[in-house]
Every structure is written in C-alpha cells, then in structure tokens.
Symmetry: C2
Subunit: 186 residues, 2 copies
DNA sequence: ATTACATGTGTACGCTCGTACGCATGAGCA
DNA sequence: TGCTCATGCGTACGAGCGTACACATGTAAT
C-alpha cells in the first residue's frame, strides 16, 4: 500500500516532457533556490512521477546546466538583438538603458536566477562555462558600439545595478538606472 | 563500538569555542558554499564534536547569521575607517579605489562569501537584515564625501566590479578597477 | 570538601535526498 | 496484426542531514 491511490492519470506519450521539465526546474530554482532544488520538487512542479527524472536527465547537475543554459540564452538573445539593431552610439546607449531598466528589472524577470547561477557556478565547472559564455556574449555585443575598456566597465556597472536592485528593499527606479548608465556612457 | 577510538582528546574547558565555531563556519561557507555547510562540516573544521553545535547555537540559521554578521562587520569597519580618514574628495576617491582594488580583491579576501550571502539573504529574513545593514553602512560612509545619488551609483559600481572579478577567469587588474572608479568619480 | 551548574560529548531518531532498477505500456514499424 | 523498444512509472536502498537528549565532567561558589 502506497497510500491513497494517486489519481491514476494515464499520461503516457508526453512528447515535450523534457522541455517542460527544464521550465519546471527554472521555476523551482527561482522559488526555492538551487539549494532547494531537488528531483522530487521539479517532478512535483511539472506533475510528473519521480522516476521520470532519472530517465530524462543524467543527474541534478545535468538539469541545472540545461535550465541555466536556457535562461541565459534567452537573455543573451534579446541583448544581442537590441544592440545589433542600434545604428549610432546614442542608440546603443538607449538600448542598454532600456535593457536594464525595462527588461532585467521588470517584475516578470526573475533576477534572483542570475545570482543563483553565479553562486552555483563558483563550484560547478559546467555552470561556470555557462556563465562565462554568457558574459562573453554580452561583452561582445557591447564591443560593437564601445571600446573594449568601456564595454567591460559598463558590463560590470550593469551587473552591480541589477544585483543591487534585486536585493534592496528600496530598488532603484528606472529613472535612476538611466541616470547611472548615461552618466557613465555619455 | 563506534569505530576506531577517535583520539581521546580531553579538550574540556574551551573558552573561545563559540568564536572558533563562527570562524570555522565562515571557512566552511567559503569552501563549500552555504548549501554545503552543515553542522557536521563545521564541527569537523573546528575539530569539535557534533553535539557541541547544538549547545552553542539554536540551529543552522543561527550560525549562518552570526558568521555573516562577523564577516560583513569586519569589512564595514575598514570601509568606515578609510572614508572617515579621508579629508578631501580626492582622498575619498583614492580610499574607494584602494578598498576595492587592494582589499576586496586581495587573494586572502573571500569574495565568494559576499555572493553566498546575497543568495542566502534572498530567502532568509535574518540574513536579509544583515545584508541591508551592511549596504546601508557602506552607503552612509560614501555619503560623507559624495552626494546621495553618486553614492548609490558608485556603490552599485563597486558591487559589479567585485562580483565580476570574483567570477571571471580573467579578473580585472587593480589598474582596471582604478580606471573604472576614477572615470566615474572624477 | 561539597555542591550546583555551565559546558562538553556521544549517540540515536526520523526525515529527505539522489539514484537505481524492474516492470508496464503504447507508438511505430514490418 | 504482431513485435519491439523507447518511454513512462513505482518503489526501494543507502547515505547524510538536523536535532534532541541523556550522560559526563570540570569550575567556581560555598
């Protein structure tokens, strides 16, 4: 006896299960942190039996790597597109401001995921690679409009502004973000 | 039988044990992360029996809070002193540069502890209070020499610079740090 | 010297975890 | 139709965890 019969679903044939599991993993990380992310928690979030985790992934590290890869790539893509579209330096500055103030700090965007990635990457080589690929990509995008030194510095500034806002009870307003970036770039 | 007799120390009467445990906790956090920090790991690091943890602390949260409080206060103290000693704005800029380039980024300084604190604080109210007290204190120190907007912005910049350096395989040099800060403040 | 109590120590309990693995099942192909 | 195997499912196992708690011991007050 395993307890009350668990609502016998007959959910065979679930083609995008792997994808759904990766999304569920991101949701769990955002809610409970990497430390609170377990096979069981992800399975519960995706409404899938525990045994399914072993089948689709090689282990927890595997899931984390796939989840964070998806997360960073979706950010990097937007970053790339906006900066590629910019034609002048002023447009590039505007693109950066918009990205940070409107996208990274928008309520729907789970800023905490980024910090979680950083910490996890400190001790997980695979996640470190994910982090670095991402940093490289955003710096490459910046270098198209700014000299390498400026690109690196503004990259760090963006990091600090978002992190600061993510953790403060009194987050910076979009106007303050704009002021800080423009002060640096104009 | 518990296994090989564990080197019968007679270590009774250990007056600063609590202090040593807090230091050991910081060492364990730096090495294994908050997620890998357990009573047993700290006890091992301090060479103390497991039972001692229960006696000296109310739980793991209690230890973490005390450890991070010690960590942030030791940084804040230096920050305060240096900025209080500065008499002119130029001296204040110099103090900030030195703090970041020489202290925060020095090899002995465990930068990763800061990031660990941030992540842990996101889900632990007590640690959130520790983080905010620290941020407030460093901003107060900056406000003695810079206007509030500048103080807040440079605070974020420092955050980004140190974080960036902590995670990159190609960390910024002290000269690059100096360049970034001076560009912003002069 | 006796006592009281703060401190130190060892161990046990119940829990959750990652992972392995045997069995079930149904989709796609011959 | 019948076969086959990728996929799905349930459960079990051993390990490590936080915590509680009974007992030991040394200090300091009387």
């Amino acid at each position: 006896m395993t307890g009350a019969a668990p609502a016998r679903r007959t959910r065979r044939h679930d083609p995008h299960r792997r994808d759904r599991l990766i999304d569920a993993a991101l949701a769990v990380i955002a809610e409970h942190g990497v430390a609170g992310t377990t096979h069981r928690e992800i399975a519960r979030a995706a409404d899938v039996p525990l045994g399914s985790m072993t089948y689709h992934f090689d282990g927890l590290d595997d899931i984390l790597a796939e989840a964070f890869t998806r997360h960073t790539e979706s950010i990097a893509r937007v970053f790339d597109e906006r900066l590629t579209a910019a034609r002048t330096r002023d447009e590039a500055v505007e693109a950066v401001v918009t990205l940070v103030a409107d996208d990274l700090l928008s309520p729907g965007h789970d800023l905490i995921l980024t910090v979680e990635l950083y910490v996890a990457a400190a001790r997980n080589p695979r996640l470190k690679a994910v982090t670095q690929a991402w940093m490289q990509r955003s710096r490459d995008a910046l270098v198209r409009h700014f000299d390498p030194t400026t690109a690196r510095e503004v990259d760090a500034l963006i990091e600090g502004l978002t992190l600061h806002s993510a953790l403060s009870t009194d987050p910076m307003t979009p106007a303050q973000i704009r002021h800080a970036i423009e002060r640096y770039l104009r």
